[in-house]
Symmetry: C2
Subunit: 145 residues, 2 copies
DNA sequence: GCTTTTTAATTTGCATACCTAATAATTTGG
DNA sequence: CCAAATTATTAGGTATGCAAATTAAAAAGC
């Protein structure tokens, strides 16, 4: 329990690290990641990938555009839509700002030997099963695996 | 990684469960828990235990008092301070609203046999060590173990 | 004792993240 | 061609969260 707690805390602290280090909030970097993975995106699709309402995401995107990290252009094919993409500046920032929490986790997992990894996997699987969390989707900080 | 992800997601969804089920936000229940553990508390001490600034916690407490879940009385010994405590209604709610995410985790851990539990513990310990998360404190949803 | 400093709580002002509902523009189905 | 669905946005609301200013009370210094 104590170790799980620590892992959670490490991930939780990720958000603050981002805010102080990269001058943007968690949701803003989250949106940036989604655009980095899959671009261009319509606002609706971006909102869906973030599990947020479109009206919420409009504000996030507005602030990213104000920072010159994202571009918003009308979609030629369907003029109801917009095309959201990373700007050059946004791509650069995304390169410099990996996913600290996830990187640390991956680093930690790599330090385990195959036997440990196996038992960890099995134990977690059993844990997850009992927690009935199977259906739930991945949160943003694991989005890229 | 997938299983860790699911556990995170389950805990993340806890907040929404609380909001819809108990009509209050995460920080509000968090404050309620702290008062349930250790009462009465001064505003400053409550803020410290939640790792938030006092000015933030004033608002949270205001809303809890408006819901008649918390009482705020001046401290007799030091009249600069206030004594924050659970109201009768607050105690009742806290009894009905355990910590779903944590309870699920505990339930999951109990389902493991001793050998699994041991290897899980060892694996997580190794993981934590590499993540250098040792120093970090427990987040609220693990505060009661 | 009296003044200065410190401490506690609050208020104010600001930015952000959320949501629902309403609106405008556009596409699609019939 | 027109009604219905879809897309983005705006409007209006609540809640977090902070720093800075304010008020009141206690503690410290002299």
């Amino acid at each position: 329990m104590q170790n799980l707690r620590r892992i959670f805390k490490a991930v939780e602290s990720y958000s603050r690290t981002v805010e102080t280090k990269f001058g943007m909030t968690g949701p803003q970097l989250w949106a940036l990641w989604e655009l980095g993975r899959n671009s261009p995106l319509s606002l609706k699709d971006l909102a869906a990938s973030m599990h947020l309402s479109p009206s919420t995401v409009v504000g996030v995107i507005d602030r990213l555009i104000a920072k010159d990290l994202v571009t918003r252009e009308p979609d030629q094919a369907d003029r109801r839509r917009v095309c959201l993409s990373l700007s050059t500046k946004g791509k650069e920032l995304l390169d410099q700002a990996p996913n600290p929490a996830q990187d640390q986790l991956i680093k930690g997992l790599k330090s385990l030997n195959p036997g440990q990894l196996k038992t960890l996997s099995l134990s977690l699987e059993s844990l997850v099963k009992t927690m009935a969390a199977d259906k739930l989707e991945a949160p943003f900080f694991f989005a890229e695996e």
